[in-house]
Subunit: 276 residues, 2 copies
């Protein structure tokens, strides 16, 4: 692992690190904010999965999360959204290929050799961060935005014993029924749709739900409502009697201005579970 | 004036607007955050001047100021840092020309036709914002970062009746004695150094100070300490018995991570003066 940068931030350290990923078979970069408490004791860790086109950097600079993670005494890890590099398959569309890993393990050509973001964010990166930094892997929660909200919800519901809480900003809530999902799952996972359902948070919510609390925020002026399909997840949460909240935020869109406006709520929501 | 975008943010509106500037003889873009209160009543306004290479956008997306301005009920205006456009003089260096207006009115060729940022931020833009938005020009304060900290301090000390408080993050504190200053003042204002002193906050502090409170934050690991010369301003503040605080923040550098870490303090400092 290589330290790209470490910068003092809200009393802690905002770091950027790179390493050779086995899962993705390429170099990967991630950001990690460690609050001041991590100097003396391992702290709980909050994973934030980003949306389409993002790297580790977007949320690091624009989401305003460090203020609240410092206040709560929680580490914040921001992975990249796909494998990267000149020899990594890509597509001209912004929503397929690099920047658009969709948090799955691709099985199809040309994606299979590198696009293993599921293994990367659920196995390789937690093991690395747990061994290199003062974080307590017995206290983990996860959240994300848009494609990353999809990732956070599907990861949490698939690994329910690992995470104490899960939240999402404007998640892609029903990708098997959306052009944000069908196109990518077809490319990465192949045409057998039965293999897609493990990566659809509405279907997972219907099937099993999550044992801890769930928080979802969705702006009512989101320009991508037709692709996100929040109503399917809201219905599934209510039908399952899932502990949690589904909030419609009047007038907000899909941007970081929306996300940063409610970041304090989300971090406090997770901190309550992590420090329970 | 043209609306470029308006986005819901922390209960208010983050707007971006463009207009044809008389002062700069080109189109200019600025950002304005209006808190929720501005829907019903004019609110106090806080001006934020940005540093080298920045546009209106950097602080809008990375400084994390909207959270605190929303809490305080204060508008936040972010001007650009120079005139812009293909027919506006420029230089290959990042610290001269576009992105580096230094908040002066240039008198020398080729800069004089457009580089009138002093008039722009002290006259034209306040008049425009005051006429178009629900802001109360009887309650103004000003702050900034680096070159913008220089701008905020010099503007406030030159117009002491207009501003209730002034603050700066890592200001260029003594530009007449720094390569961040001598080069630019020579280019914009000419070789007669007597014309530079009106734009040096250390010299203005020695000469007159500011009638309200002053807050300066400086990171001890700032990579540009030799160019910023904080010691000259600290000495001048103490010698004048200037009301205020000069804070050295251990381990912080020159970045937005530094600035955002102390943004809450600065906005609260100004809000106290604006709502006194």
């Amino acid at each position: 692992m290589k330290t790209v940068s470490e910068t003092r931030c809200f009393g802690g350290i905002q770091g950027v690190y790179s390493h050779t990923s086995e899962a993705c078979a390429c170099d990967m970069t991630f950001a990690l904010f460690l609050p001041e408490e991590a100097r003396s004791v391992p702290v709980p860790i909050l994973w934030y999965l980003s949306g389409l086109t993002c790297t580790h950097e977007n949320a690091m600079t624009k989401a305003g999360a460090q203020a609240w993670c410092a206040e709560a005494g929680v580490a914040l890890c921001l992975p990249d959204t796909s494998p990267r590099g000149a020899d990594v398959a890509d597509d001209d569309a912004f929503d397929l290929g690099q920047g658009a890993g969709f948090y799955v393990n691709a099985t199809e050509a040309p994606w299979a050799p590198h696009y293993r973001m599921w293994d990367y964010v659920t196995q390789e990166l937690p093991a690395l961060v747990g061994s290199e930094f003062a974080v307590d892997l017995d206290r983990q929660s996860i959240f994300g935005h848009s494609m990353g909200g999809h990732g956070a919800l599907t990861v949490a519901m698939t690994l329910p014993d690992r995470f104490r809480s899960v939240s999402a900003f404007a998640p892609i809530a029903n990708p098997t029924a959306s052009d944000w999902g069908r196109k990518q799952f077809g490319a990465y996972l192949g045409s057998d749709e039965s293999r897609w359902s493990a990566h659809d948070s509405t279907l997972l919510m219907r099937e099993s739900g999550f044992p801890g609390p769930v928080l979802v925020d969705q702006g009512t002026n989101d320009q991508f409502l037709d692709l996100l399909k929040p109503e399917t997840l809201a219905e599934a949460m209510a039908a399952r009697r899932q502990e949690g909240q589904f909030r419609l935020q009047k007038g907000y869109d899909h941007s970081y201005f929306f996300m940063s406006s409610f970041m304090e709520d989300h971090v406090a929501f997770h901190a309550e579970a992590l420090y329970a």
